[in-house]
Structure formats: C-alpha cells, structure tokens
C-alpha cells in the first residue's frame, strides 16, 4: 500500500506541475497592461482529484473484473417477433402522445434530440456498419440545411418539396467527395473528411452573396401540415392556418408539438429504411467490408461501390436531418456546422456502440438531454464530453450497448477489444 500511496503522490505532483500554468496562473489584460494573478484552488483540486483517482484505480479494476459479465450485456435480441413488434408499437405510441402532456421546453429539447438521433443513425451506417471514419459528417448536414434555406428563399419551395431535393443534394455531395477519397485507408479518410468539412464551413463563411456569410440566412419557413401553416396569421394572402382550419385558439405550443411529431416521423422513416437496407445484400456487404476488405474483394465484391453506397446513404441522412434543422431553427449560419458538431455525432455513435441502433438512439437522447438538465455545469460540458470519449475508449470501446450479431468464433481468444 505505501508504494501505491507514493505513486499516487508522484502522479498528483505531476498533475500539479501540469495545471499550475494553465489553471493556477491567469493572465489579466487591462488595456495595454498585462498582469498575472495566482489562483491556487483549481490546482489543489486537480491534484487531489488525480491523487484519489490514482488510488481508486486498483480497487476499481478489481471491481470491474468481478462484473465482467456485463461486457456481454445487451438487449435481448431473441424476443418473439410479435412481442417485439408490440413493444415497438407501444414505444412509438408513447413517443407520439408524450408531447401533449410535457412542457413546451422539454418538447423542444426532445426535437433537438431527435435531430441528433437522425444524424447518429446516419453516421452509424458509415462508421458502425461500413467502418469508414467520417469526421466531416457535418458538411452534409450543412448541405441539407443550406439547401433547404436557399431553395425556399430563391424558388419559394415548401419544406416537403425541398426535403427530397436536399436528400439528393447531400447524397450527391457525398458521392462526389466519396468517389475519389474512399480508396484511402481508414485514418487518412478521417482526415480528408475532416478537411472537407472545414472547406465547406469556410466556403459558407466566405461566399457572402450566396450564403449570407457569417450572418447566415434567416426567415426560413417552418414545415406545413398539408399546406396549413402554424402561425397566428397566414403568411400568404388567402392562406389558412392550422388553428383557423380546425377552429382552435392559436397556441404557440402547437408549432413545437408539430415540429416534434415531424421529427419523430422522419426518424422512424430513417430507422425503417436503414433496417430494410441492412438486411439487403448491400447492407450485408457493408458489414463484411468492415470486417475484412481483402476477403470481400476476393469474393468478388467491389469495395469502392459498397463504400460509396454507405457514404452516400450516410450523407443523405445528414441532408435529411439538416433540412429539418433549418426549418426548426428558422435561421442558420456557419456556426452551427463546426467540427465540434461532427465530433458530437461521432461520440453518439461511439458511446451507443458502433453498429447498434438502439444504443445510438439512447446515446443521442442522453447526450442532448443531460447537458440541458445540468445547466449549471454548462461550462464543463465539453470538458466532460472529451474526457468521457477517452475513458470510453479505454474501458468500453465497444460502446454502452454493443451490437450483438450472430458470430462464430474460436473459443480461445486473446483478451482484448474486438
């Protein structure tokens, strides 16, 4: 034990050395005068935290080896089909009824969560199923959002007319980028997509005449229900709004609930499409390619086409979600499409478990709902987020709810993340 103590003390000392210049000394700038101000408490706190964490590491390891069984824990997948469908229907009905009982604020957050669910599901196809790391996913999201904003601004098209167009545009962008770069190996691909995401953001920022530059585009119309607007007064002369048509009193909450329901329907649609696709040959090919590209090639599958289909599909999902995002916000600017957004969506996929759809959905809800609940810690949100990514990779790289799929393995295997 004394050895552990002295080791922990050493680690704490190192933590002290590292944190003193960043947390312990602050630069104060007043006019042209620069001065330094010492603040010992954060450093002491960091040292104590590191000391305790280091001491707890050994008992924690012992505990985690005891509960090793949880590694294989996942949702029961062998439910009878009727039972499963019933459960699914129940969940959908609950999700559809819920907004009428909840507060306006929480419905709004839930809508945001659904956008992230869509993005997560789309990226899950690219990263989880096809095994292609895409760090510029937000670019396609931006294409969808700007696509809708520009089409409605210049051509007066409605949300429902734009939606398929946005999907096509995003898919085409995905294929255009994907075609040359998909030959690259995993981590090169990640960096190229990252660079591409940045190029798109820089272009949005600088093509002032087209995109409005840093100011973005405002007054984006909201979706309508078969032509019925959700507004106090119709925006076009002679139009009817939702509350006039049904003879209700105008309520701002209607819009919020309607947007939530639209997002829910869109999410279910994406979920349905993905679940059909992964049972089709192309979906099987995605997974096969992730497992072993060389084996795939020798079986006569064309890796480029398969990768391209996954990439294009992921991009189109992002475009789909992007169009809805623009409609919900009513205002977009390049600030919404930074790298951090890509990182959040990637974190959703990784935390949920690559390839596991239920895990991705839960992770998306958790990652959007938790920061809203812990508002007083808003400053630390991204700090914790980064830390969680690192710790997850160390302790549970397969995600919280890893995908289980039938597999045949030799019983004796080297210990390690698969």
């Amino acid at each position: 034990m004394p050895r552990h103590l002295s080791e922990a003390a050493l680690v704490a000392l190192l933590a002290g050395l590292l944190t003193v210049p960043i947390l312990g000394i602050q630069i104060q700038v007043e006019g042209i005068n620069v001065s330094l101000e010492g603040e010992p408490w954060p450093v002491v706190l960091a040292m104590v935290a590191v000391f305790v964490a280091r001491l707890l590491q050994i008992p924690l390891k012992a505990i985690s080896s005891l509960v090793h069984i949880t590694h294989r824990l996942s949702l029961p997948t062998h439910l009878p089909k009727a039972y499963f469908l019933g459960l699914l229907a129940l969940a959908i009905i609950a999700a559809a009824i819920w907004p009428f009982t909840a507060s306006r604020g929480s419905v709004d957050i839930a809508t945001l969560a659904l956008i992230y669910v869509m993005l997560g599901l789309g990226l899950n196809v690219v990263v989880g199923f096809a095994g292609l790391l895409d760090l510029g996913y937000v670019a396609f999201y931006a294409v969808g959002a700007y696509g809708y904003a520009l089409l409605s601004m210049h051509f007066g098209l409605s949300f429902w007319e734009c939606l398929p167009l946005c999907v096509i545009m995003a898919a085409m962008t995905g294929c255009l980028l994907g075609f040359p770069v998909l030959r690259l190996r995993g981590d090169y691909l990640a960096i190229v997509t990252l660079g591409f995401g940045e190029i798109i953001r820089l272009l949005l920022n600088n093509l002032d005449e087209l995109t409005g530059g840093p100011d973005g585009i405002g007054n984006i119309p909201k979706p309508t229900l078969f032509g019925l607007e959700f507004a106090r007064r119709p925006s076009i002369e002679g139009g009817t709004t939702f509350h006039q048509f049904f003879g209700l009193d105008y309520s701002g909450a209607d819009t919020v609930i309607f947007l939530y329901l639209v997002a829910l329907v869109m999410t279910l649609f994406i979920l349905y499409v993905i679940n059909r696709l992964i049972r089709m040959p192309v979906g099987r090919a995605w997974e096969a390619l992730r497992e072993d590209e060389i084996a795939c090639r020798s079986l006569g599958l064309n890796p480029t086409t398969i990768k391209l289909s996954a990439f294009g599909f992921g991009a189109s999902t992002a475009g789909f979600a992007g169009a809805f995002f623009a409609a919900r916000q009513g205002f977009i600017n390049p600030e919404s499409f930074t790298f951090i957004e890509s990182a959040i969506v990637l974190a959703i996929v990784v935390l949920g478990g690559m390839g596991s759809q239920i895990g991705v959905i839960l992770a998306a809800i958790a990652l959007t709902a938790l920061p809203e609940m812990a508002r007083q810690f808003a400053e630390y949100r991204m700090l914790i987020f980064g830390l969680v990514l690192v710790l997850m990779m160390i302790w549970r790289p397969q995600g919280l709810l890893p995908a289980t799929r039938p597999r045949l393995e030799l019983p004796v295997r080297k210990e390690g993340p698969s």
């Binding site: 050395l17 590292l18 000394i25 981590d187 960096i191 190229v192 820089l202 990779m393």
Partner: protein, 305 residues
C-alpha cells in the same frame, strides 16, 4: 518581384512553424501508426505557457534582457509541454495499444476536445495579446515603391527552427535512442524482441514531438502576439497536412512539407483572397492524399495480409 520575395519571406516564417509542429505528427505516426489528434492542442498550450512566462519575467520580475527572457521562456515551455506530451500518451494512448486503428484516433479526438476546454476554463476563451518583445526589422527596396520587410522576429523564427531541426536530425541519426527510434519505426515488434524498451521509445517520441511543438508555440506567441484556446485545432490540421505532404513518417519530409504549405498559404493570401488561404491549405491536403498518398518523400506502404 519584390512582392514575390516578400511572400517567400512570410511563407518561410509560417512554414517553419508548421514544420516544427508537423514533426510531432510524423514521428508518432511513423512509430505507432496513429494520428495524434491532440498534438495541435499541445502547441496551443505551449503558446499559453510561453505568454505566461514572458509576462511573469517582464512584468512581475522586471527582467529586460531579451535573449535571457527568450531562453528561459523556451526552457520552461519545453519542459512543461513535454510533460503534457508524456502524460497524454500515458493516459489516453498507452492503454489502447494494440486495439483497432479507430479506437486511439477517437480517444485522441476526445483528448483534443478535453484540452481545448480545459485551457478555456483556466484562461478564458477570449484572445490574449501581448506587446511584441522583439520589434523592428530591415527594409529593402526603393524608398518610394514596394519595400520588402524582413522583421527581426522572422529571422529569429528561422534561426531557432534551423537550430532545433539540426539538433533533432543529429539526435535521430547519431544517438543510441535515435537509433532505437528509427528501429521502432521500421518494426516495432522486432525491436521489442531485440531488447529495446519500445514503450520508452514511444514516450520519447511524444516528448520530442511536444518539445518541438512547444518551440513553435512560443515563437508564434511572440510573432503573432495573439492567442486563444482554439488556435491548436487549425494549426494541428495544417501541420498534419504538412506531414502528409512531405510523406508521413519521414522527418525531412515533415520539414519540407511545412515549408511548402507555408509558401502555398502565403501566396494564396497574396494573389488570391486572404479568406481562401485555409481553403487552399485543406484542398492541398485532399489533393495530395488523392494523387500521392505517400507524400513527397514517403515510402509506399505495402499491405500485408
């Protein structure tokens, strides 16, 4: 012609900084084959440490000897930043040794986000600026026309960069540990079998990379005089571009790539539009990866089954 040489001067200055950072990427990639995404953040941290040390020396202690300030700042910054590099490897990458490629990359992204926000909490998100420590320079050219301006700071950047690059090259080529580094980049397992502590070599790689990034950070905080917690991300991607451009895994390649990228960017902002210099840099990255993934000086990688 004069404007052209001005752009060459600016480009070389910028390129030196990129080259210093790029070496960290290329050495780590050469040995363990991972992209150390948090490397840009190391550079950002060193810029902060540099700024704090300089402020402490000049304002708090009233030191006025510029070479002394410079040497002391470099030493402090290299020391602490190397400790950061070592710690990051220990905490975020070593436990992941031997896992699939994407796992350490995601961990590195997490680390990068963590460090960025950690500095933001400690020092605030606003721009910090400082009085230039070294000002002035030489002017060439006609009195009434376009004059080429070469500041003392630019000369200093070039000189310091050359000194550190030479030191690194000698270290890698001549010393025992340098030989171990080269062996590790050829075959990690085999080197381990031959009795070299590869974990120590990998740690050393991170420390060396961080030390050079520290030099870059101190120089940039003296040159530009304006830093914020987000400078690491952009500089990181650009330095990575430089590393890829020169051929990832090759140290001379990283130097060459940095200089080429710096020149390209400086010409782009002079002859195209300033706003598009980043677009040019990223496009260069995409193009290089497409047409010559091995880079200018890199060796082709043979896929083993």
């Amino acid at each position: 012609m004069l404007e052209f040489s001005q752009q060459i001067i600016n480009g070389l200055t910028l390129g030196s900084i990129y080259a210093l950072i790029a070496i960290g990427y290329t050495m780590v990639y050469g040995i363990i084959g991972m992209i150390n995404f948090a490397h840009g953040e190391i550079y950002m941290i060193s810029a902060y440490i540099g700024l704090i040390t300089i402020t402490a020396l000049t304002v708090q202690f009233g030191v006025e000897n510029v070479p002394l300030i410079l040497l002391f700042t470099l030493a402090v910054s290299i020391l602490i930043t190397s400790a950061y590099g070592w710690t990051i490897e220990r905490v975020a990458y070593r436990p992941l040794r031997g896992s699939p490629r994407l796992i350490p990359l995601i961990s590195a992204i997490g680390m990068s986000i963590f460090l960025q926000n950690y500095v933001q909490i400690g020092q605030g998100a606003r721009d910090l600026s400082m009085q230039p420590l070294i000002s002035g320079g030489w002017r060439f050219g006609p009195e009434d026309g376009f004059q080429v301006y070469l500041s003392y700071m630019q000369v200093l950047i070039a000189v310091v960069t050359v000194i550190f690059m030479t030191a690194l090259t000698l270290f890698i080529a001549r010393s025992r540990l340098g030989r171990a580094c080269r062996a590790c980049s050829q075959d990690l397992t085999m080197t381990n079998l031959l009795g070299i502590d590869t974990n120590r070599v990998i740690s050393l790689t991170f420390v060396l990379g961080a030390a050079l990034a520290a030099v870059a950070g101190v120089l940039i905080s003296l040159y530009i005089g304006k830093i914020n917690p987000f400078i690491g991300f952009e500089a990181g991607i650009k330095a990575f571009t430089a590393a890829v451009l020169g051929g990832i895994g090759s140290i001379p390649g990283a130097m060459l790539g940095g200089v080429i990228l710096g020149l390209a960017e400086s010409f782009a902002s002079a002859y195209l539009l300033t706003e598009y210099k980043d677009v040019v840099a990223f496009s260069l990255l995409v193009l290089v990866l497409l047409f010559r993934p091995t880079g200018l000086l890199g060796k082709p990688e043979i896929e083993k089954v």
